[in-house]
Amino acid sequence: MAGEVKSQKPRAKTQSGEMAKPAVDPEPRNSSGDAAPSKDLVTIYVMGEAYQVPKDLTIMKAMEYAGFRFIRGCGCRGGFCGACGTVYRTKDSYKLKVGLACQTVVTDGMYLTQIPFYPANKKQYDIAKEPANTQVLVRFYPEIMRCIACNSCTKICPQDIDVMGYINAAIRGDIEKVADMSFDCIMCGLCASRCPAEIVHYNVGLLARRLYGAKVAKRSPHLAERMKEINAGKFEPGLDKLCKMTEVELSALFYDPKTRDVEP
């Protein structure tokens, strides 16, 4: 097993004579490399049903501990994919809270449901043909004009994005601002689930980012230059030569600071 001391398999001594020596006594771990869960249990309610789970687990691991096997509602398990958006209430609070199941730790009395999918309105467009002007976002998604500034989208965003702020920027037609403000979006869809104006915020942000990347940001001059060189076959003779080299020849080039200097 990894990241701990005891389970390291015996290995050969290195030339400097170093050998593994245990420093601390680890807890047993399961096959996925997790530590043994805490013996202190809390009660969580998954879609209304009570389960006793260790207190220090994430919602995702707690649900697995409770016996759920995910098909939906579980993706990258690292906070990037937006598959595991979860809505919950905590004990004695009227507030509706939200988090990614893979990143949020359970608390006693947590009352939750996952929202792994929410129907969304997505327009089709040809980025190459659409102008990056102030009207384009409203043209594709006119419903953004219906925003009543309730801020529910911002309050529910598990990425702490100022969602209403970027919808305001979209209404003003400020593509750059929408692109920048919405950048951390993982498209979990929770904003759309709460919007009384039926806006699908994350698709507005996505359109703005694509327009910004393709149309507003300047193209790279050095990239265009390199493409010309590649299309002219400039590097082919050099690559022909390199591809025919033996391991020893390549290694000599690789370790020679004259042929492979490292940019500071």
Binding site: M1, A2, E4, V5, Q8, K9, R11, A12, T14, A20, K21, A23, V24, S31, S32, A35, L57, T58, R69, F70, I71, R72, G75, C76, R77, G78, G79, F80, C81, Q103, T104, K122, Q124, I127, F183, D184, M187, R209, R210, G213, A217, R219, S220, P221, L223, A224, E225, R226, I230, F235, L239, L242, C243, E247, L250, S251, F254, Y255, V262, E263
Partner: protein, 544 residues
Amino acid sequence: MYPASMQESIKRLDATRAERIKQTRIPLLGADAKKELLKGFHPDYIESSMRALAIGPNKGDRTPHELADLLEAWPIVDRAKFDTEHPKYDVDVLIIGAGGAGVSAALVAATHGAKVLTVTKLRIGDANTMMAQGGIQAADKANDSPERHYLDVMGGGHFKNIPELARALVSDAPGVIEWLEELGVMFDKEADGTMITIHGGGTSRKRMHAARDYTGAEIMRTLRDEFRNQNLELIEYCVAVELLTDEHGTCAGAAFVNLETQEHFVVRAKTTMLATGGCGRLHIQGFPCTNHYGATADGLVLAYRAGAKLGFIDTIQYHPTGVAYPEQIVGQLITEKVRSVGAHLVNCEGNRFIYELESRDITASAIIRECQSRNLGVATPTGRLGVWLDTPLIEVLKGPGAVKKNLPAMYHQYERFGIYMDKEPILTYPTQHYQNGGILIKDSGETGVKNLFAAGEVAGGIHGRNRLMGNSLLDILVFGRRAGIAAAEAVKSLEPPDGGFQHVAAYEVELKAAKVPPERRSPMLLPEYRRPEFKTPFAFAECL
């Protein structure tokens, strides 16, 4: 939020920071020093962790037990449940998997006029692509060249890479960046359009392009949006359980099970492409992993049964910096970009011990040596060991606010657990990250099985024995596009095939001769993380 036991060591780290800033770069290791470090401490070198395969095209090759258990295994589904005479779909190109490789292949194959169907186990974009943070390499600056990139790739792979594949990788790289730029990927740029590029482990030029620390997510959500714009056909939550082959062993499509309805169906295809990703969720040697839930090596299993040869399957990449604390997110990725922008790796006494941007296998081995052999790791309350990444140093080097600006995703991840990485260091230990090898391909993505293509992490040979940072986002797009074109072009001279499971029956003869136990089944489909009392053997098989 760190417990008192760890605070002591943080004080030592804080105390040495000023000295470390003045320190000159730790010299790069030479060839012999690298060999010794790998041999002593890289997990691939633990003899008992692997075994020789008993059957199949790679018979005799050293393979991690966890993967060997899936390759030497019986089919998970009774094939009598599939009606191969009446395929539900009849297409030109079938793409299995909808991460970066599959989606880019679908886009390109469709523009080449093929009727394309993409089928994926989870959702489109549910892939390691989405999680890649640090960047994508391309030699597109004046001081750089594809030749230089080639040399770096080969050096990183210990010169074992297949030359034609490494050449395709570096030659297509600038074109891939251009394609992404046209699609609207928001690369980090200067005002005049110059790409902001940095070093990655093992690069000799700053050629790592990034979109903050959401590079893979930004690429994936853009490709996915384009896929939806093009109205390409997609089926989600359906898992491939077997390939189909005709009487000559040529691939003819695949058999699927709908994970939600349990429907069994067959797709007939003139060409088939595997873009199913890697094997992170096998937890090789019990390591935690950085990978997506669906990274269960299914593609390797299917291709192997159909007769495709695999390569470099004895080399697993352990990312040097996985989370070692807090326990809830152990094993998750701390992007290499943290080191690229200046953070030092520091042991419990506050000292550096390796140049931070050595290639990943070297850096990972050095961290393991620090913790396991030199006794200079920092212990967590659950008994893990790790070393520090001095992230507050980034603020000193690049100015206040630099951590939040360059690493918003990382900052957010730690903030959730009350750790502020602009003020406190973070604890790391290697974590299983990448399958260096896979199905052997040609530079067109063709595998050893006729009309079967592969691209992305499921394919092997490009990176030799160790992949460099920023070359996997590149790899999936270079070979996704190449395989997409080749698969679409190939269909022009092909008739709809008649596929069956002859190859599976033949494989079963070998399984029987090798006395593989009947309860060992594959592909895995999804990992099993429930408590033992909930686990029924092959729970999915029962509903299949």
